[in-house]
Symmetry: C2
Subunit: 208 residues, 2 copies
């Protein structure tokens, strides 16, 4: 059965930005701080290494009953028995994924327009990551999404929505009354001196 | 049902080395020349682009009734309905793959020792690519396999075997009486002025 997901605080990992010694430490600290979803993103390691890292991270997320989402690599998600997979507009098309992963795996799609959002819903996505809301150093090529477009996206689909791109302690409050389900962060957790405290503070701001 | 495969002349693509304008042209010329297996290898494009290229190449290989094998990316192989997937020692472990791809998809594994060959057979591989037989520019980090080790590999497993690494018009004759099923080539076809003629000549030498 497909898990019910609390999208409030969605962590995307980035080993290059993280302050922790290992990805496991980083993820566990964030989980202690309250992140509700973990997406593992690895763009420059071998498939075997991605799989080995994924196995270790999945043990940790499972202990916290938090879904693990694998970025792009559907085969790694399947091999791990991860709870979900997340694809961008340059990854495998969503309509191809659903038959490959079965009915229960979560599929997330990155979108920056309401047309892409509608397409993702049509193609069987469970949630969308909408962004980038602000310019960031994590993703320098990202298309910026206006407040107006976000509103249109929210009106266009019934999918769960997380906003991404520049989400931090200063910005997330702006999205609390926009009807989105949560915020996705990278550096606001992984690049902080104490990822656990950073996560706890973000969650507290989001829930207040 | 798993296809019966003629491994005689196994083409591995490489867009960086090819003389043809497009990968489709390159593959079709090689097929006209008689290659019996095509492996599509893409290491530096997006998943979407790999999938789109794979769709076009699969149409061509299917027209020639030649199996298409996808390098590393099991998800792309599944999405395409390709006939096989090929993994190296740094890719997803073979024993993880079989449950993901089902009983009918071909699985190939790169090995350079008889221990790896035995493991591949145990893990459910259909064939192994043994190499590198010679140092090449295509794969500069490859471990070289001696004639003695190749003999030991042939004695250790009943899997189909193709040799790879430095296979060309001069070298392939040395492998005709070693009990291997075929030879895998990259530049000896794709980097030649006329890939069709190059393939025809290689096949003729191998079969003579």
């Amino acid at each position: 059965m497909k898990p019910t997901v609390d999208y409030s605080l969605y962590l995307c990992t980035d080993r290059e930005l993280m302050t922790s010694a290992t990805i496991e430490e980083c993820v566990e600290a964030a989980l202690k701080g309250g992140v509700t979803v973990v997406q593992l993103r690895e763009k420059s390691c071998s498939s075997q290494e991605f799989y080995e890292i994924g196995k270790r991270v999945h043990q940790i997320t499972s202990a916290y009953h938090v879904p693990l989402i694998i970025n792009d690599r559907v085969d790694i998600a399947l091999a791990l028995g991860a709870e979900g997979v997340h694809v961008g507009q340059q990854d495998l098309p969503c309509h191809i994924l659903r038959p490959l992963v079965g009915p229960d795996m979560l599929i997330g799609v990155s979108v920056s327009t309401h047309e892409e959002a509608v397409q993702a819903e049509k193609d069987g996505a469970d949630y969308i990551g909408v962004g980038a809301m602000y310019a960031t150093q994590t993703k320098t090529d990202a298309h910026l999404v206006s407040a107006k477009e976000l509103k249109l996206i929210r009106q266009s689909v019934s999918l769960s929505i997380v906003t991404i791109g520049g989400m931090n302690r200063q910005t997330i409050a702006h999205f609390k009354n926009t009807g989105v389900d949560g915020v996705a962060v990278v550096s606001a957790i992984v690049a902080q001196e104490n990822p656990e405290i950073a996560a706890r503070e973000l969650l507290s701001i989001w829930k207040s």
